[in-house]
Amino acid sequence: MTPGTTQHARRAPAAAGRSRPGPAAPAGGRATKGRGRGSWTPWLYLAPALVVLGGLLVYPIYQLGLISFLEYTQAQVSGGEPTTFQGFANYAELFGDGEFWNVVVATLLFAAVCVVSTLAVGCALAVLLTRVRAIPRLALMLAALGAWATPAITGSTVWVFLFDADFGPVNKVLVWFGLSGFEDYSWTYDRYSAFALVLFEVVWCSFPFVMVTVYAGIRAIPTEVLEAAALDGASTWRIWRTVMAPMLRPILVVVTIQSIIWDFKVFTQIYVMTDGGGIARQNMVLNVYAYQKAFASSQYSLGSAIGVVMLLILLAVTLVYLRLLRRQGEEL
């Protein structure tokens, strides 16, 4: 493929999307869409998706809520004892437990730091990519794709190995730089350094999505617009603020929300890197906490109640997202 055709192909969907509110689109569009009015064809197309989502997403959510109101331990699971309705007793037990609040705060703070770091690194490198020639760009792109492609579990094991107190190269390098405190330093022993280690891995494997998406977004901005602004004497900062930032905002909203979703429910990294939640459970996040409650100590009701809390927190995030989309005037 010649560079010309690649560029054309890349821009086509974006251009079509942008021209949507134009005067020509609705006139041409309504005629075809009219074919579907009152017809059952769209529902036929939707049927498989609705069956799968209804059975494997909606029903489990209902079940999750239900179990959180029941007494449900090993005895009930095996059918030895009848399930009894507990009302809000499980929630009362959960909210009365200091550890739960500890975990909630840790989860929110950890996710926030992960999201901010991921976005900062991803956006900075996306801008960097637009400033360099082909070879450094290809090198960075390939390295990022490699990090992105790495499964969470293998990424976790490799990062633990890199920071291993005895066999890892990171401590040796830090000591070589004169930081003698890192001689045989165990990163997973201390709560904050263990969280930091997980943070490094999370940023490493999730910045590529942000970088690639934002880079694709910057590339989709027509050069003519930027050149026109530059010819009119606009400063770099002004071009960014009045031309690029508004055009990139939809992309930035999407990557931010995706990062929040992913980082809020990190499980594999914490579980593998801190061996199930850290020494004395110091590195628990809500996900791991729910898993430990349900599957390690058979308190399925409490685990479900934790799941409901997570669901509600992410629902709140979703509502904010929907409001942001509305304000942008995005047509659903």
Partner: protein, 289 residues
């Protein structure tokens, strides 16, 4: 290249600094993968060295041999491949139909459905492990092949979890196909299903590829469900479980862990390299819409 005409405005020393920075960052980002592959090839004595070196003079296949001699490892590999493959194909087909419905038809509850797909993306799937566990247990009693300890219990949840995002992403691609093309097809006497599969499907295929990356990753990476749903029938385990074997109380077998990690990462790397170009353009197109 759209930016190459803008680039000359940057003064040369700055561009050089940017390029050096880019290369250093690339090296840092690639280093963990380099270390993984290097450690997989280091002989046993060297990997336990407290003076780790960034190269090896005597590469060895011992770690890989240990991995492949581990009982059922090949089977775990095929299981992972099967699970991810079925999830990718099934969610792509189901999402294509659903995305076409919401992008090209106007019908009651369309907006409601779109909002629901959006909300569904936010559902923390990990929180659903508990009800999913009971659902799989109950299904296993009535439907063979989908209960606990089966590959179906890993496939089904991942189809459901990757659908909302896939529908949302594909919607942009379907919308980008001009309406006039559909009218022309009908005028030429094409049936609706002919238009759907022979015209629309090939046109949105790049979008399907970009989407499939996400469903592939979600299924291939799955650790939680494999750990929770495959309890007794270990022959139905997947790769992450094979990796855990090398973590031992008396000291981790780092050579084995790194070799197994390498084997587990390579298929995804190949997949990414194959779809790389479409992925970048696909994200640009879909997200922009």
């Amino acid at each position: 290249m759209s930016h190459s005409r803008v680039a000359p405005r940057i003064r040369r020393p700055w561009r050089l600094a940017a390029e050096v920075t880019a290369l250093i960052v690339a090296a840092v980002v690639a280093f963990p993968l380099y270390w993984m592959v290097l450690s997989a090839f280091k002989p046993a004595g060297e990997i336990q060295s407290t003076e780790p070196r960034p190269w090896t003079t005597s590469p060895s296949l011992d770690s890989f041999r240990r991995v492949f001699q581990q009982e059922d490892f090949g089977r775990y590999f095929l299981n992972s491949l099967f699970v991810a493959g079925v999830v990718v194909v099934a969610s792509a087909l189901i999402a294509f139909l659903a995305a076409t419905a919401v992008a090209r038809f106007r019908f009651r509850f369309r907006t409601t459905l779109l909002v629901m797909f959006l909300v569904a993306q936010m559902v923390p799937v990990e929180a659903l492990t508990i009800p999913m566990f009971f659902l799989m247990r109950d299904l296993g009693e009535s439907v063979p092949g989908v209960g606990l300890n089966t590959l179906g219990s890993l496939i089904l949840p991942h189809i459901a979890f990757s659908l909302p995002f896939a529908i949302w992403m594909l919607r942009g691609f379907v919308k980008a196909v001009p309406e006039a093309l559909e009218e022309a097809a009908y005028l030429d006497g094409a049936s609706r299903s002919r238009f759907l599969w022979q015209i629309l499907f090939p046109l949105v295929f790049p979008g399907l590829v970009a989407t499939s990356v996400f469903s592939f990753i979600s299924a291939w990476n799955d650790f939680l469900f494999a750990k929770s749903f495959i309890i007794s029938a270990t022959e139905n385990s997947t790769l992450p479980m094979a990796l855990l074997v090398f973590f031992k109380a008396e000291g981790n077998d780092w050579g084995g862990i790194m070799a197994a990690s390498t084997v587990m990462t390579i298929p995804v790397l190949i997949f990414f390299v194959l779809v790389q170009r479409r992925l970048v353009s696909g994200l640009g197109g879909a997200v922009k819409d």
